[in-house]
């Protein structure tokens, strides 16, 4: 049995699932729209958490929260369920498919067989859509893939019940109730306000301050941790920034696309100018990645080089601070 579902590739999995499910239900919501309204943009140096033996950085809001905010702001209702028992999780999934309802699932990446081996880490916040079942094979629309794919029920159970941080526990979700028309305007404004608040938050590890905090640590790493670890940590920053799903530049380009689209919806030309500015900030993040990669490419890096990339980050932080203050004013 197969539901008539159209797969659109997206940069990021969570936005992609939102956008694809909304399109299936007849609402044309683009990926940047979903990302912006859900206030996905962020920077956070997550304290105390180590991922792959390096500090954890994120350029986006916590898994699941983008969809949650999006739903609340545009006025749709989502049903979510988590399970202890894999059989029950499977039964609920099958029942939904029988009712012709494509569903979103949260899964772990490590056992996702269609991913290239090098990308299979223990990361549990990946999202995909199941849109049908043929015998024991589920039809999968993974938003980051160019085409649809399949998983057997064993393979699907494994990824749905991956363990570790953010364990999905069979998490299944789908929209159940829609308004006649989406309240895009107010949702966009709420989304932007929230992002400005996050990025300008008076917290040492969050937003603009978080970027400065990271820059400060980068200066210390070579002395405190040794060159090998410093390079490994730097590599981690770049990987989190440019990993599949960010659309490049740590989500900054997707956010710029969102501002551009919003300027048309709200009829506010200043948002379009701000979008251009955000694109340039995205370019600065890319330049930072290029310079950082030079450091970890040559094992014998000078301390100077670390100071150099740290300064670049501080410049980016300054630019983003100015930017988000302007953005806050623009939507008032």
């Amino acid at each position: 049995m197969q539901i008539n579902f159209t797969h659109h590739q997206s940069a990021h999995c969570e936005n992609g699932v939102i956008s694809n499910l909304m399109k299936h239900h007849g609402f044309n919501v683009s990926e940047p729209m979903a990302f912006g309204i859900g206030s996905g943009l962020l920077f956070c140096h997550i304290p105390f958490l180590m991922v792959n033996h390096a500090p954890a950085f994120t350029y986006r809001a916590l898994p699941g929260i983008i969809f949650k905010r999006f739903a609340k702001r545009v006025g749709i209702k989502i049903k979510r369920e988590k399970f202890k028992n894999p059989q029950q999780a499977k039964a609920v999934l099958d029942q939904n498919l029988n009712n012709n309802n494509p569903v979103g699932l949260q899964v772990g990446v490590y056992n996702l067989v269609y991913f290239p081996d090098e990308y299979r880490f223990h990361f549990n916040a990946h999202n995909l859509v199941v849109y049908g079942k043929e015998n024991d094979t589920y039809l999968i629309s993974d938003p980051v893939m160019e085409d649809v794919t399949t998983l057997t029920d064993k393979q699907l159970e494994k990824v749905r019940f991956a363990k570790g941080a953010f364990a999905p526990k069979g998490h299944i979700y789908y929209p159940v109730d829609f308004p006649k028309e989406l309240e895009l305007e107010s949702a966009i404004i709420k989304g932007i306000k929230h992002t400005c608040r996050d990025m300008l938050a008076p917290m040492p590890v969050l937003g603009v301050k978080g970027i400065r905090y990271t820059a400060k640590l980068i200066r210390k790493w070579p002395k405190k941790k040794g060159v090998k670890k410093a390079n490994h940590y730097l590599g981690q920053i770049v990987r989190m920034q440019e990993e599949i799903g960010t659309g490049g530049g740590g989500f900054r380009y997707i956010f710029a696309a969102f501002l551009q689209e919003s300027s048309k919806v709200l009829n506010k030309p200043e948002l379009s100018n701000l979008s251009k500015e955000m694109t340039l900030i995205g370019d600065s993040w890319r330049d930072f990645a290029v310079d950082a990669s030079r450091i970890y490419k040559n094992r014998s890096a000078k301390e100077d080089a670390y100071n150099n990339v740290a300064t670049q980050l501080e410049v980016i932080a300054d630019k983003e601070e100015v930017f988000f203050k302007k953005l806050k004013k623009a939507i008032q």
């Binding site: 180590m50 090098e118 980051v144 570790g164």
Partner: protein
Amino acid sequence: MKKDEVPQDKSNLESANFRELCYAVDENGEYTTVNSTGWDPKTIALNKAIEDINQRVEDAKQRVLNNQTSPIEYYMELHKMDLPILASYVGLWKWRVKRHFKPQVFNKLSINLLQKYADVFDISIEQLKNIELHAN
């Protein structure tokens, strides 16, 4: 990033035959999406991370052969896990898993516990006890 600046470098994505989606502006300044085959700075970062993991696996292997640690640590590294992840997969406290890294403790583990670990690593108990039997 302009549309024609989207990098098309060689990367490990090729093996799975897929290209990721990037956002970029076209000639008129409008945002659009472009597929990318990869970008060197991040391919290098990823390759470094994989090199590190391989190094950790090799270290763990040597320590198992020198009887300094149990095969559990080797298989943990092989599966890109760390202690919290492994503990969560076998459903034990972290300190218990850590204790099982000691060869003398590992040698006395019950069949039940061994089976738990073997299931997580998708191997047989014989392979769990003797890493030489594991083809890799």
